[in-house]
Symmetry: C2
Subunit: 358 residues, 2 copies
DNA sequence: CGCGCCTTCTACATCGATGTAGAGTGGCGC
DNA sequence: GCGCCACTCTACATCGATGTAGAAGGCGCG
């Protein structure tokens, strides 16, 4: 280590010249080729250290036809669920020697389509894509010629590997949790009227199933529409439901942001949670363990989703099994009971899940 | 559009063959070179569309020596502040034709150093780096030979452009806000004992200044240490302070996560906010507008930080002014008053109380 | 008419690495 | 002594684009 830090310059040629070998030998050393005399290897390594040489990734990419980068397309990082998902994907990718390039679609249909055809695909070896707007009608556009793994529940049987959770079942369990606590007038926040695909539709379906199994009617007045699943819309929808005068003793927010928004609206009106109204969310973002009250929610197995997606993508990239039919992986979920449904007796988390830092 | 979607194959050679021109002419068309006969241009463009040709970025990168990618190194995306910052940086970069590659350092010193020397630097044209562990003693390592912009307040006068806010002043204003409300026993959460650089030190310094200007003593018992600025540590520190029996009528969380954790702990103990204790945070993450109560905080001008950083980096990359001395940009801040200090009269994103059911 | 200039396009070298083919050495079995 | 294999290394072509130099044709100007 001495002449290092020269920036652009140093190439294999210079290393080769200094070590007195051919450039291919340098390449072989760098890539751990087996048949190299120890003495030669040492000389090359010394030259590399001396010159501060680093492989030029662009050149390697060109030659190898791979970049070692995978794309991750999500709506927005400012939505905690996607930020936490991105965190997990980055960790999983890193563990496998991959780098992640994030693209934000802003839940805009056109931008979601761009992702599928964009320039960027040449920068990456594959894509993990979580669409919010595209649906089965876009099957054609999804028929891309590069490795892709889809996340979420908007597209089933599509032309790609797919990782998702059992939304219907999870929503049923969430609703059942409220029913088990004796709640009977359970409102939903975040429904998308008329939609038949996507998280909203599936979760509402699970909600209906639970009610029906319990022999309870499904009251349309309890189903609150909310296009965007943000805190703000959750609060607005909660208020609309309250203003409507309909009787409510529990709320199922179809994601945590909506539920937290609802919590906010309830707090503003001095309505006791869970005394008067119990609230459950969906996603288990870190914030739910720290809201007041803490929020009961459905944990979708974020880590599992991330590692599974990266593994599937990597398998496609490496074509371990060419022509392997597309698979669909359903991940596990779990109900995390907290104060917003169980009251003060709920175990209040003192420490956040996962996320290890020193 | 017809034969498209072939994946790997199509190169300029094929386009050139189809259009009956040289490959350089195709390149010229793609790059908007001026002197091309309209008829030729059309033929080439038709061929490009026909074959679904897309430039191979790796090849272009190799030739041009630039990748169009900038790195963004942050501690963790699961920390809302950094997720929102990443969101802003991605948007700003996109507007300038750049792509962002995110690297998580997990606030681990070694990983922060890796970022400065790692392989990845060859993938990117420059780096926006927000260190949490490195400090002035690492000036040597920061002396990198690629364009870099530093964020945050750990390093001043370092060998790079630097974007930061006026932490001392902002913390002074936050403390003043509490003083203006008549609070006199203001606790701090998130101090780092013994540190003289970094957000913690600077914000505590601002806190001290405000107290001193008001002629109040600085009581060490009110200064709560918290290494990690997470919700969990905020809650723990709050509890420790409460248990200590020291008199407290306000809390200054050195970031929002700490303040939200404190809010959580106060709620658990049924302590009224702001009735008994007022709370102010720092960062203005989205969550603060929806917590219960909503959290007063200091908005650091995230968008401004992001766009400034990207602009500075781009200027370095393009070497518009070679040898230009490193600049330091101080961004604006603003106190956002909400319920946690102002009480119910604070403008809440809600609606006046109305009829309530069951 | 000759010269230079503008326009349009092409041929070729080049960016920095890796794959392929093969040269050269030495050891081993028969 | 011959053939074969294992080891070690090299020369060269190649990935797909872009920069350079210059050719070819047409036009204006003195």
């Amino acid at each position: 280590m001495s002449t290092a830090k020269r920036g652009s310059a140093v190439t294999m040629h210079e290393v080769a010249a200094r070590a007195g070998v051919s450039i291919k030998t340098v390449s072989n050393v760098v890539n751990g080729y087996q048949y190299i005399r120890p003495a030669t290897k040492e000389r090359v390594e010394a030259a590399i250290a001396d010159l501060g040489y680093q492989v030029n990734i662009s050149a390697r990419n060109l030659r190898r036809g791979r970049t070692g980068i995978i794309g991750l397309a999500v709506p927005e990082l400012s939505l905690p669920y996607f930020a936490e998902l991105a965190d997990s994907v980055i960790r999983a990718a890193e563990a496998r020697g991959l780098t992640v390039l994030i693209e934000q679609t802003g839940s805009v249909r056109e931008r979601e389509l761009d992702v599928l055809s964009g320039q960027r695909r040449h920068l990456t070896d594959g894509l993990i894509f979580s669409p919010l707007e595209l649906g089965p009608q876009d099957a054609e556009a999804l028929h891309v010629d590069f490795p892709m793994v889809l996340l979420g529940e908007r597209i089933f049987g599509g032309p790609a590997d797919h990782v998702t959770m059992n939304n219907v079942e999870a929503a049923r369990a969430a609703t059942q949790h409220l029913l088990d606590l004796g709640r009977r007038r359970i409102a939903v926040i975040g429904a998308h009227e008329g939609e038949t695909v996507g998280s909203a539709a599936l979760r509402v379906q699970g909600y209906r199933q639970a009610l029906e199994e319990a022999g309870l009617p499904v009251d349309p007045a309890l189903i609150g529409e909310a296009g965007l699943w943000h805190r703000a819309t959750g609060a607005e929808t909660m208020e609309r439901l309250l203003d409507s005068g309909v009787e409510i003793d529990a709320v199922f927010g179809l994601n945590d942001a909506l539920a937290l928004g609802a919590l906010h609206a309830l707090h503003a009106r001095r309505i006791d949670v869970p005394g008067q109204i119990a609230v459950i969310g969906f996603d288990d973002i870190e914030e739910t363990a720290y809201s007041s009250p803490t929020l009961t929610t459905v944990a979708p197995g974020r880590e599992q989703i991330a590692t599974t997606a990266v593994d599937l993508l990597l398998a496609r990239i490496e074509e371990l099994e060419p022509g392997k039919p597309f698979v669909q992986v359903i991940t596990d979920f779990e109900i995390i009971g907290r104060e917003s449904t169980l009251g003060e007796r709920a175990p209040v988390a003192a420490v956040p899940p996962a996320s290890q830092s020193a």
